[in-house]
């Protein structure tokens, strides 16, 4: 059942509740209360997962840990927890991780709706308005253990807009939002100017006859916008934050209240990103960072996190040349590094990308951290998701095997304590031949 289409059942035990005739409802309730049914109804929101090896978001898998979920939140992670009034799910022999967090995606976006090209700087436009919560790729991501994702505006503008962190499943889009208007997308390199054309005589017949048309033009546009915003902030005159959301957004970035998600793939763009961060005092996170292996020390010294390109992908925008072990090198250099599937890069599911990072040298624990707790920290949502610890949302994935194995599949995915993907109840589709009977011989 598509969880986006049907109301979510309170929990698995609710499915087995029998239909009660209205006339008998009052009597039934009275009887139920008398017989202590109230206590068992209370157990509907208590879930105890036990028996699995557990990765909490940091460190190695641990045996014997149990997870107690109450009202959609993790109440406790520990050994020998009380199962009183709880639905106990024995997942012995399985592997548990927090719900995966994909730090850069285009989930729910139609390709034509990711870039607002009426202007090359649209910092204030929220991507949330373009997200289709019923898009199939949300369900696909959920089926591969991704429970939270950052959805970013496209990269065809210098300032593309504001992203959103949201759950990949849940009843309503509004309830799925973890953090809205977060992360200002800023794109360096050739992509942000690739649609523009320079004016060389004649009559300009398209809005794309405009600046910037070069890499340096892109950077100047960034500087120009920050200068203007800074000037307006300094003067305090003629600037109404309510009427000028673009400037308001840029000022938030200048004030360090908003992370600037800086798409920088080549070495020169990465260095430019670090320069801009220093120049304007903005807080940046490098998106993709394909050639980050060239500037490891500089990135580490600047304390800038990197949301790295998917390691399985070989060809990257801006003709950036990857190294197989960039993620390992970044981790070794002390850089906070997460793994993304990205936008239109042809990545594998997030957990497979983590597996590729291991194949290219990253230790297993670091790879799992790079798709759970680390992206949650970078996105500023680690108080909700990314780890299995008290008070966080009960976003939990039960895997049949070590999740980094190429054979692994999520058996159960819980979002807010609710089972929203049941891999064991896999639909078996009868594959039949479209044509019956013997092959035709008359036609040829």
């Amino acid at each position: 059942m598509n969880p986006l289409r049907k109301p979510i059942l309170p929990d698995a035990s609710a499915k087995s509740l029998p239909m009660i005739h209205p006339h008998k409802l009052a009597l039934g309730l009275a009887l139920g209360l008398t017989l202590g049914l109230g206590a068992s109804l209370g157990a509907q929101d208590r879930l105890l997962l036990k028996g699995a090896k557990v990765f909490t978001g940091k460190g190695p898998f641990q045996e014997g840990l149990q997870i107690l979920v109450v009202d959609g939140k993790i109440q406790k992670v520990g050994k020998d927890l009380s199962a009183e009034n709880s639905t106990v799910v024995d997942v012995s022999g399985k592997w548990i991780t927090p719900g995966l967090v994909d730090a850069n995606t285009s989930l729910g976006l139609a390709t034509t709706h990711t870039n607002e090209q009426s202007n090359e700087t649209t910092p204030h436009i929220p991507i949330l308005d373009a997200i289709d919560p019923r898009a199939a790729n949300f369900k696909r991501a959920l089926g591969m253990g991704v429970t939270s994702a950052y959805v970013s505006p496209g990269g065809m503008n210098v300032f593309g807009g504001l992203g959103v962190v949201l759950k990949t499943a849940g009843p309503q889009l509004s309830e799925r939002i973890i953090l809205d208007k977060t992360g200002l997308r800023m794109t360096l390199g050739a992509m942000a100017s690739s649609g523009n054309r320079s004016f060389r005589g004649g009559n300009p017949d398209s809005m794309f006859y405009r600046r910037p048309t070069s890499r340096m033009g892109v950077i100047w546009e960034i500087r120009s916008q920050f200068y203007k915003a800074d000037a307006k902030r300094a003067s305090g005159q003629g600037f109404d934050p309510e009427k000028d959301p673009a400037t308001r957004t840029l000022i938030a970035a200048l004030d360090g209240k908003l992370t600037v998600r800086t798409t920088a793939r080549t070495d020169q763009d990465i260095r430019t990103a670090l320069r801009l961060a220093e120049e304007f005092g903005i807080r940046i996170a490098i998106d993709e960072g394909t050639e980050a292996y060239n500037s490891l020390d500089q990135i580490a010294a600047a304390g800038v996190p990197v949301i790295a390109s998917p390691p399985s992908v070989s060809q990257h925008p801006d003709r950036a040349e990857r190294h197989l072990d960039t993620i390992k090198l970044l981790a070794d250099a002390g850089v906070v590094v997460a793994i993304q599937t990205g936008q239109g890069l042809g990545a594998l599911p997030l957990i497979r990308e983590a597996s590729f990072a291991v194949r290219y040298g990253l230790p297993r624990e670091r790879a799992l951290e790079a798709v759970t707790s680390v992206p949650a920290e970078i996105l500023g949502v680690s108080d909700r998701v990314g780890s299995l610890k008290e008070g966080l949302d009960a976003d939990i994935v039960v895997w049949d095997l070590n999740p980094l194995s190429v054979f692994s599949r999520p058996e159960s995915v819980y979002v807010g304590g609710k089972l929203l993907h049941d891999g064991k109840a896999k639909k078996t589709k009868k594959v039949t031949s479209p044509r019956r009977g013997t092959p035709r011989k008359t036609r040829l």
Binding site: N294, H323, D325, G346, F356
Partner: protein, 439 residues
């Protein structure tokens, strides 16, 4: 100046005689930490593989290592048969000629030994490749069976004119027109031969009636060279690798095969798994003749057009459930690191095998689908695909079992010769570690 005495001459002569009579033994020993020989065989630990002139002579724990053997230490590695690719179109200048019926073309003329494709194949543990023209054709030409190592196509080739490529993918016009064109080409070739045979009969008749002839009537010489490869295929001398793009072409493929009695290997792409019942029935009618190579996409998303519900289908699992044997294949892109279209993981046999296992195909069957089954389709089952005494020493050593996250190919051997050594791979050096200087 010294003169050679008769004694010297005799001695030199005898030495030369013995040297030529006793071929130099090429001995290699592989010390394997873990050995996977193939389906149905138990994993062996700490064994020695003795290789003589490229063939496995002995696999044993206590084998004494000959003093003159080259020793390859894989005692901390996982050794298994090299992967075998039965159908691919990589490492070429361009995959398809613009003319749709070109049976006379040969891939030998297009193989680029310096292509990244072959380098990538070695790095991924593929030691045997059957390279054929692409799928955008009707009758594309002859493939070549090769090893991914060598300075020239001749160095690489094991069989220069292997299978003939045909495709049912309609690239110009309708599917029915595409079929018609193929049949037209068949008919033209057969008619041509009939005409030659008629001329010969006439020539013989004339000869019988006393006509004087300058030369004998040689049918082979009279046959048009452009049509000859097609006639060889129609005579069943050459196997045809028939690409079937979708389920609704499977029936046409079988009709074509049965009508012309083609010796065919089916290369099933797209949603051909939907025609599995049809394939199964054909297999029952033609026992031992069904040969299937599945396309590289082993996870296909099917979307219900009404409910938009998606189902993930693994074609290999569908064929496995139907009890049909199949070979797996990988993508053929020649990009910088293995792929210019699609994810490079699809060029990696371990990933393809892993995907099938994830969907429920038993691991040994999935591995066999990239080792011994393609070797069987290529009529090389007694040489490649397994590691047994008497077979070719064509194997790979890996850091761990192939589907483990930390696994990587350390060494690749073809007939006992090292054709890939990761420690000497310049590309690995170039693409890992901190660069010594920026670009």
């Amino acid at each position: 100046m010294t003169t050679m005495t008769a004694k010297h001459i005799v001695f030199a002569g005898l030495t030369a005689l013995f040297a030529s009579a006793l071929p130099a033994q090429d001995l290699t020993v592989v010390k394997a930490g873990t050995l996977y020989q193939g389906r149905g065989k138990p994993l062996l630990k700490d064994v020695v593989i003795l290789i003589e002139n490229g063939k496995i002579k002995k696999i044993d724990k206590g084998t004494k290592i000959p003093w003159n053997a080259e020793v390859i230490d894989a005692s901390k590695s996982y050794v298994m048969p090299a992967w075998v690719l039965a159908h691919g179109s990589g490492g070429l200048d361009r995959e398809n000629e613009s003319i749709p019926v070109t049976p006379y073309l040969t891939i030998m003329d297009s193989v680029d030994p310096s292509s990244n494709y072959f380098e990538t194949a070695r790095r991924h543990g593929i030691a045997i490749l059957h390279i054929l023209p692409g799928n955008a054709t009707q009758v594309g030409g002859r493939g070549v069976l090769l090893k991914p190592s060598g300075r020239t196509p001749e160095d690489m080739a094991l069989v220069e004119k292997a299978g003939m490529k045909m495709s049912l993918q309609a690239t110009r016009g309708s599917r029915s027109q595409h079929l018609l064109q193929i049949e037209k080409a068949f008919k033209a070739a057969l008619d041509h031969r009939t005409e030659i045979l008629r001329q010969k009969a006439e020539w013989e008749e004339d000869k019988k009636n006393g006509a004087t002839t300058v030369e004998e009537f040689d049918v082979d010489k009279k046959i048009d060279k452009l049509k000859k490869p097609l006639l060889e295929m129609l005579d069943g001398k050459v196997p045809v690798y028939l690409y079937v793009p979708g389920a609704n072409d499977v029936a046409n493929a079988f009709s074509l095969i049965e009508k012309y009695k083609l010796k065919a290997v089916l290369v099933l792409g797209g949603d051909c798994y939907k025609a599995v019942d049809l394939v199964k029935r054909y297999g029952r009618r033609n026992p031992g003749k069904l040969r299937i190579i599945l396309g590289p996409k082993q996870e296909v998303v099917e979307k219900d057009p009404v409910t938009q519900e998606e189902t993930l289908v693994c074609p290999a699992k569908v064929f496995f459930d139907a009890g049909l044997p199949f070979a797996l294949s990988s993508t053929s892109s020649s990009g910088r690191w293995g792929g210019s279209s699609g994810n490079p993981a699809l060029t990696m046999p371990w990933y393809q095998v892993g995907t099938c296992v994830r969907h429920g195909v038993p691991e040994d069957i999935a591995i066999a689908a990239f080792t011994e089954i393609p070797a069987m389709f290529l009529n090389r089952a007694k040489r490649f695909g397994r590691l047994e005494v008497g077979m070719d020493a064509t194997m790979q050593s890996l850091a761990a079992a192939p589907m483990e996250p930390e696994s990587k190919v350390r060494m690749l051997l073809f007939e006992g010769q090292i054709i890939y050594d990761r420690s000497k791979d310049p590309r690995v050096k170039q693409l890992t570690g901190k660069p010594t200087q920026t670009r």
